[in-house]
Symmetry: D2
Subunit: 346 residues, 4 copies
């Protein structure tokens, strides 16, 4: 006599031939009571990874240099080129004299400068020189190139929404026929002056989804944090945390990703926090510990670490004032009504 | 002597131990010139699948009935419970006398009624009776239940953003302790009258991400299409295509998914079209063919078919006026600046 | 010896020659602790004014008929053609067989039908037949005409932002060279079906400042109120009060004026309320009293009354269910951050 | 036998007793083909008016100093304390050692510093020192005070929306019981750092109708203009014209008024332009002529002039680079859909 499970198995086989499967066998995995992703905490010490980045400089020729990037792969997501479930990050090396020709793609990229000074990025015909701590955007579908006319190698952290665009299967990419830089059409500093001074062109109305400012210099950001700290209104979890915004809208500077800079004062011992967006952190100044799911991760300048989504964590400063840059997919989650945060708790 | 590939392999092994991989080996797969997903065209004829749905009624008890759903799985995405790369769909059967208790989750669900009449959905304490062609929303994190007090089985198509919420790893779910329906707090029809009549409550300001109207009855939608057709401004690709909207904002009715209803008049022979969002169609009236990537898919009432993203297709009507319901992740793609469309072309 | 006041007078004279005056002499009148306008409460009983409207029909020929309007002038603002400080209202009579040719102007107009049935308004080439209680918009700078092909005279209340446009000195007006109606370009009912059914055209994005729906029929509004009343969530001041909205945005249906319809149930005895926008009311059904600044104003069907801004008032119903239409400049005041309301209090 | 005009006169008398007047007698004045206001061009040379401002310093005691303002009255609007049809402007003198206690009102005020350096304005407990060319906002209903702890008199131009608030009859004003300054609650520079650096506080969402930045320092604005000029994309009418914006929204910095700063390079000879908003200009640097309705108005540093709405005008520079500050009611007109502009034409 056929058992229930035999009957069901046979039924599953038959409906499978019709392109159907039984929800009741998988529902518990599809709709979970809490986030249940594979992303795990991770830390890359700059001192550990930097030699490999330099070694890649020998291995990979100038011609290949556009791709001379070491992908930071989350240990919970091996083989997927992801630093979190939705985002990509990599360390890119640009040696003196190199340049990468203009190209564009649906993916939004951010560059956060770790080392060097004097390499440049061009976006839609405007060049910007980059310094450590600068936050640079290459917006989706904007022509962009980069090069290094200085004497020093530059290393930056690349952050892209590659997995996200892949998930939506909506990615396009293009390069011009000739592999030469597009001619500059705007002088250096034009975008920042035009859109980043508290004024906008008189006829400016709506813009695209990305900020028209594409370099947020560290000098300016740092000075703002220093002015604000006199206010002493510190957040118990975040210290003094700011988001980079699009001056045309006040919304996040990029459509898919959010980026942040925060100051944690000497001796800061933060309260527990979690949010649904997994966060990639880069230490810019100072050093400290982050306790993530009860495990301690110690960081100093240029170190990179990941806090998975909905994972309780807290930061404490062990030396100097600490400054942390971070980015996540919060800009997307908020647009979709999915983003949540939770302070303290048990 | 070590070859280049030996050297590189050894390097890859060393950096792998540091949680890094070489971008240059995978970049071509990560950033593609065109969308390159696995979703393929598919068609489920109602006459083929309906017997299995009814058979599930025997196999699965009332207690399990909340999950008595046959998942429509895209042949290019087997084992993933997805009808497109980002969305889930299934056929749900509600037998007379059954009910499913209130629960809520981060996923947004839509219900499109295929067969029956008299089953109900309750959302946040308001009940709505459902008829074929009705488009019903259970918004993210809203308490919802359903039941069938009529004498007829009901079959509806469930559409959810399950893969999307899973991708962002931001899903929560909850059910009340007692497995009993929450008491009704608003009379039937209140939401539609309050938000769907061209007026809004005097003190209404912003709402949540979903439309406060949660049943868009087919009778009303069909009548509107019939009035509009006198205008004769038919779109060569779409006929007369409308999107369901949130009356508080004019934006799509759901934060993650877009839903549409379109009228194709007798003899319509549509032009070629494609967009980056994969589309799930349900035929409501009439019959016709869709040519998808040069292959013909013929459909009639209650048939369900999928057009993958960025896949050229055209519709033609073979009998009567055709009415097609459809849904996709366009609401998300547009928010992220990723959505594109392309008319005609070769 | 010159007194202070002599010295000042001489100074005022000298600066007057330079186009300057002393603020300290007028500041108390310019910046007041509370609103201090000249608008006063007023009531026009339809039975009193209707004979005069009909008499105007004899006095004013068909050729002049476009202007056959009796202006309702606020007793506190005589000679200014204003019903409140910022708005104009008048009673317009359209006799059978008359029509007024297309014209357009910067002023937004609303028409609220009081009597008759069968006259029409055309807006941008679409005609709508009008019935009592219908709320019709002729948006700023939209071509509009009207006529009466029925056997009955029609009387409607015209509401315009004439004083407001005059204040900003930004008014333009235009009529075509030939004094003939523009040809219809859209069938009747197209706008309401296209924009007022909970759906919008698939490619619809932003619109102009006015609602694309230009007739909100009373039958539909009344039915919505009747459905909502089962909810029993009555506001102590307003009963069940709804605002007419633009389905593309959820904002007020007109850029400068707000319009409302409210149901006060049999026996309603409302609480005290005031807001900064002076309100013009029209009784549609039932009868009642409004106590405005301690004085009673009794109204019945088609009566029109004014509640000045920031003036305490309350409504009570004396017969039947009462339905009140109203309009004000709230849409402007809210955009400017000026609007305030105050419930109860002394 | 009674003439038509007798009959009409008698009718007008009868309806007048019912609070009604005939539209056909006044319509031509109410709805005009073009703007038809009373505002006229005007120029106040600083050298002419400054002695009177200083003289007011002797005439008006410190106690009265809050109102020690000479109103700039448009010659077409005498007795109305208006510089344009909708706006107020005045020259305010603050002598060393004076201060004006905190107060607030519905009116939005702007201060544009003409002379001096070292006086301060406080807004909601934050103090800002003011320098020539600084643009300072005291937002509607925000507590604000000012004082002068420096050794120099300060003169600034006050711009307020007094006539506009009066027109809407929606003005409130308040002062604290004790006539003492409110204690500072935020350090100097906090708002500018917090909201004006291209970042926003992480939890910042929507704000009020005014910019949270309340001092836009000239040094910063001027430097931005200088950077932008290298772009050489000069507007033929405006040179390089920027609007002050609210960083939370990208909209004008104030809800009712728009403010602008523009650079006209040496030798600039501008094209004809007009817009519906009457504009108040202040020359900051350089000198030039404005041809307004065919009449020449020559201006130099600190001179103030008015271009009425819809009045053709053009600017030419006669010495140095010219920098012009300006403000108008454009922010309101744009919200209401009333604003128009016109380039060139005859």
């Amino acid at each position: 006599m056929a058992t229930t499970s035999d009957v069901r198995a046979e039924f599953y086989k038959r409906i499978g031939m019709r392109g159907m499967t039984p929800l009741w066998e998988v529902m518990h995995a599809l709709v979970t009571p809490q986030p249940a992703g594979s992303c795990v905490p991770a830390l890359w010490r700059y001192d550990d990874v930097h030699p490999h980045v330099m070694e890649a400089g020998d291995l990979i020729t100038a011609r290949e240099a556009e791709r001379r990037v070491l992908v930071l792969e989350n240990p919970g997501l091996t083989g997927q080129s992801r630093i979190t479930g939705t985002l990509y990050a990599g360390l890119q090396l640009i040696l003196p004299g190199e340049f990468a020709a203009d190209h564009r793609h649906s993916q939004t990229a951010l560059r956060f400068v770790l080392q060097g000074g004097g390499a440049y990025t061009t976006v839609d015909g405007e060049k910007t020189l980059m310094q450590p701590g600068d936050f640079v955007i290459t917006p989706q579908w904007a022509w962009h190139a980069h090069g290094n006319d200085s004497m020093d190698p530059m290393v930056w952290l690349d952050g892209l929404d590659i997995p996200l665009v892949q998930f939506f299967d909506a990615g396009f990419a293009e390069r011009p026929e000739a592999n030469t830089p597009l001619p500059p059409t705007r002088p250096e500093g034009d975008s920042l002056a035009r859109y980043g001074s508290g004024l906008l062109p008189v006829d400016q109305s709506a813009g695209g989804p990305s900020s028209p400012v594409f370099n947020y210099p560290y000098a300016r950001t740092r000075e703002a944090l220093e002015t604000m700290r006199r206010n002493q209104a510190w957040d118990p979890c975040h210290g003094l945390k700011m988001k980079y915004v699009n001056p045309l809208t006040g919304d996040h500077a990029m459509p898919t990703m959010a980026a942040f800079m925060q100051l944690l004062p000497r001796g800061f011992d933060g309260a527990v926090y979690r949010s649904t967006d997994a966060m990639v952190y880069v230490c810019v100044e100072g050093s400290g510990d982050s306790i993530i799911d009860d495990k301690v991760y110690s960081w100093g300048p240029r170190d990179i670490f990941v806090v998975p989504g909905w994972c309780r964590h807290q930061h404490r400063v062990t030396s100097g004032d600490a400054v942390l840059f971070s980015f996540s997919d919060r800009a997307t989650q908020q647009k979709l009504g999915l983003w949540r945060e939770d302070r303290g708790g048990t």
